[in-house]
Every structure is written in C-alpha cells, then in structure tokens.
Symmetry: C2
Subunit: 176 residues, 2 copies
C-alpha cells in the first residue's frame, strides 16, 4: 500500500503571504516588504492587524491567490508513489470553502475530490506524513511532521524543515 | 482523554431521505412512499434516478433539509463525555459545502468549527467510533464502526446497528 501524505494549503501550496501583501497594498495603500514578516505571527505582521485580518473574509481572497513555486510539479510527481491528500483548516473561514475547492480544481485538477479534506482541528487526520507551516497542526499529527518554511515560522527549531518543494520532493522520494 | 466519535451527516443527523422525497414530489409531481426505498441503493430508489440525482445539485437542497429525530439532544448529551466530530463526505457535491456549514450552524450551534470535517474518502479519519449509514465508510474506518439505519441499508448484516439516536446514545454511554 502506498504511504499517505497530508498537504496543507495556505503557505504550502497557496502563496497566501504574497496574496496578503498584494491585497493589503491594494486595499490600504501600504506596501509591505516580505522581509518584515519574518518570524512574526501572521496576524501581527501587518501595520494594522485588524485590517489585515478583515481581508481574509473578502470575496476572492482565497480564489485568486497565487500558487507556491514548484507545488504543481512536485505533487504530480509525488502522486506516482504516495496517496496525496490536501488537508486545509478551511472551516475557520467558511467563506473560503467554495473558493478553496475551485482553486484546487484549477491548479490541481489531478487531485480527486476524494482526496480533499476541509477541517478545523487536524488531530483526527491520520496520514503517514503531514506537510504544514503551523506547529498547532504539526505538533499533534499522527504521522511524521514536516515543517514547510513560511515567514512566520523561520525561527521554529522543531520538526524536520523543508524550504521549498524541491527539498520536500527530495526528502519524500528518499523515504519511499 | 475523551474518546472521539465521528458522526456522518446525511441519514444520520440530516433527514436527507424525507428531504429527497419532498423535493422529488415538488419538482416532478410524484409522491414516493418511504417504504419503496427499503433495501435499495439511494440512487436507484426513485422512478427516475437521473432526475432524482439532479436534485442534489439544486441550491437549497442541503440547506433546508430536516433534522433526524433526537439528533440534537443526543449530540448535546454525548458531548459531555466524548469529543464529537461531524464528518461528511461533502466534497462529492461542492455546492453543498456552504449549505452544510450553515445547516450545522443553525441546528448544532454547540459544535465548534474545529470539530467539522468535510472530506471525500473517510479512510484517513481516525476517531474511536464512526456512526455512518454507508459501508463504503464503515468498512474502512480506523475506529469502531456503528451502522445507523437508513432505508437503503436495512438488509446489511455487518457491523453493530443502531436504529435511532436513542439506541446510539444508549450504546455509546455504555461504552464510556
């Protein structure tokens, strides 16, 4: 039987950081340099965190986000040897549910609806690996946690880290 | 730590059978007796299965479905001693995602978004119990399967069966 991998969306296959920076500039006229986000919790990384958070609830925020470099090619390759599941804690933002579904359909048409999970707490997800940018998910997962680098987690020293999809692919192909 | 229970939506807390019968009558003018559904796969239970299936994609089909008798009271009671997760294979019908979320918010406001899972295949869900009406979910679940009676599964002889929420509550409270 193939080993299974749960793959988070935001900051792992969806470039939500760039998206957030773009929306913040467009809505509030302030351009944030990505370097300013380093090591800071996502909510606090913008000059006005409440305004930044309000963007998450806007129509189109999730639907039009760019893709993380190399994610498409990596998942296509990994799918040859692993069962790939997209597991997003989308339930916190119910407006994101159809947008995230449509986004996946556009960018990852080779992922079946059977392999998509929108949840809240990821503790009940049981896969051999979890690739995620948040300790709140990685610390409690049932399989092997893999930390995917995002600005907010650069100072985290727990868990095996991958900085991009090239590294993730190399790590997982070596495990197979 | 509390034991966890994954609870399916359609035919377990949502009376999708009654809903389907009502919609079929309203849209096609044919009233089906519930007895005609006994032991027949859901898709084949109506005179025109294709027409019946088309109803699933209509706006409001999931949002306005009635609740299964006793589900609210039972879940409120079970929540005292168990971690309750609502786990619905909603991903097959993406139009249902926001409707199912809103339905849960209306009828089960005491279930946190953290405890809601919309997925495709339930194999990666790891809870101590799964209450479901479908063998495709129960046969592969990681915990103890509990078959909740629906018309289509009356002839199934596998798994522990409960006929209603009164029986489910009695069974689970005895396990605690």
């Amino acid at each position: 039987m193939k080993k299974s991998i749960a793959i988070d969306m935001d900051n792992v296959i969806v470039d939500i950081e760039t998206n957030w920076i773009n929306w913040y500039e467009r809505e509030f006229g302030v351009k944030i340099d990505k370097k300013e986000l380093l090591g800071i919790p996502e909510d606090d990384a913008f000059p006005d965190p409440v305004a930044a958070r309000s963007l998450i609830y806007k129509t189109g925020f999730f639907r039009n986000a760019p893709i993380i470099d190399g994610a498409q090619e990596a998942l296509l390759k990994l799918q040859e040897n692993f069962d790939i599941f997209i597991v997003s804690a989308a339930m916190e933002f119910p407006n994101s549910l159809p947008e995230k579904y449509d986004w996946l359909n556009e960018h990852f048409p080779f992922i079946s609806w059977k392999n998509i999970v929108f949840c809240g707490d990821k503790r009940i997800i049981d896969t051999d690996y979890l690739i995620d940018d948040h300790l709140k998910n990685l610390d409690f997962c049932k399989g092997t946690p893999i930390l995917f680098t995002a600005s907010h987690n650069v100072n985290v020293t727990k868990h095996k880290r991958v900085n991009n999809w090239e590294e993730a692919l190399a790590l997982l192909e070596a495990e197979n």
